[in-house]
Symmetry: C2
Subunit: 151 residues, 2 copies
Amino acid sequence: MQTILSDFTKHLKAEGLRLTKERVHLLETICSFKGHFIADDILFAIKSRRKSGSRATLYRLLPVLVKASLIQQSLLYDGQTKYEVTWNKAHHDHLICSSCSMVIEFKHNTIEILQREIANKYGFILDRHVMELVGRCKDCRRKNDVSPRLC
Amino acid sequence: MQTILSDFTKHLKAEGLRLTKERVHLLETICSFKGHFIADDILFAIKSRRKSGSRATLYRLLPVLVKASLIQQSLLYDGQTKYEVTWNKAHHDHLICSSCSMVIEFKHNTIEILQREIANKYGFILDRHVMELVGRCKDCRRKNDVSPRLC
DNA sequence: CCACTATTGAGACGTAATCTCAATAATATA
DNA sequence: TATATTATTGAGATTACGTCTCAATAGTGG
């Protein structure tokens, strides 16, 4: 059976990296999150579970996990680098309300195909992409359309 | 005639912000750049043109200009927040080589239309988007495909 | 089990960006 | 135009995020 850990192990070997307790522990912690998280969420979680755990090790691991396609980065427009687990999950992109920060996940096959075509046209092989649509949701538009009160 | 300054003025008024000398000066400086630039490029430019100019003011202005769609942010995958002027320019997205950092600008009308459709489907009105395709260019792939030397 | 080498962790460090607050400038109103 | 009101500015302190260093430690292949 294929687990995130077995895929991780495979990737480490392929890259000549070692499977250490700390890396496994970090991966487990990361997998416990639902949805988006930031580096500090992980740091806080590992420090509360047991004494040890260092920022350096975490920051060294994150790009490895991204490269292994176990997690992905997203912007979500509030300045902090956010991540989410993507292993065994359907790929999706984000639609974000610039007013209330609501995030909607969506997938669009045609766009995915077109993106690959574009890359190929320029001689690239596409590894990944970031696509984030920013707009205003129905509720926030309604709120703003209310005429200003006179008092 | 419509200038970037007149659009800027309009936007400021609409947002209840004031048209100040410093803001105009910053905008002029920003307009003098070709292609991508970072916050520090602007800071350096305004400090060399005249004595004054503060980081705080610049960083306060940048999100205003983004919101007014006069500039846009891009990631371009090297850790620093990059900007480019988008006023009166054909919109484009980026294709980036993860190995040599080459950037190709492209535009794809179908994708633009689909993006707007997606937003509408979820009740959003689309203001802007970020789409960056990351892959490996032909040259970098070739370099890596060379068999490793034995010594 | 040994030798070799990658990894870890604590904290120093670097850098981008934000915050503070008194002085100043822009706008609305009389 | 003068005045009142309020946003803006700027210098520097401060924060926040991420990277680096290096000695101690832990994996790994033989």
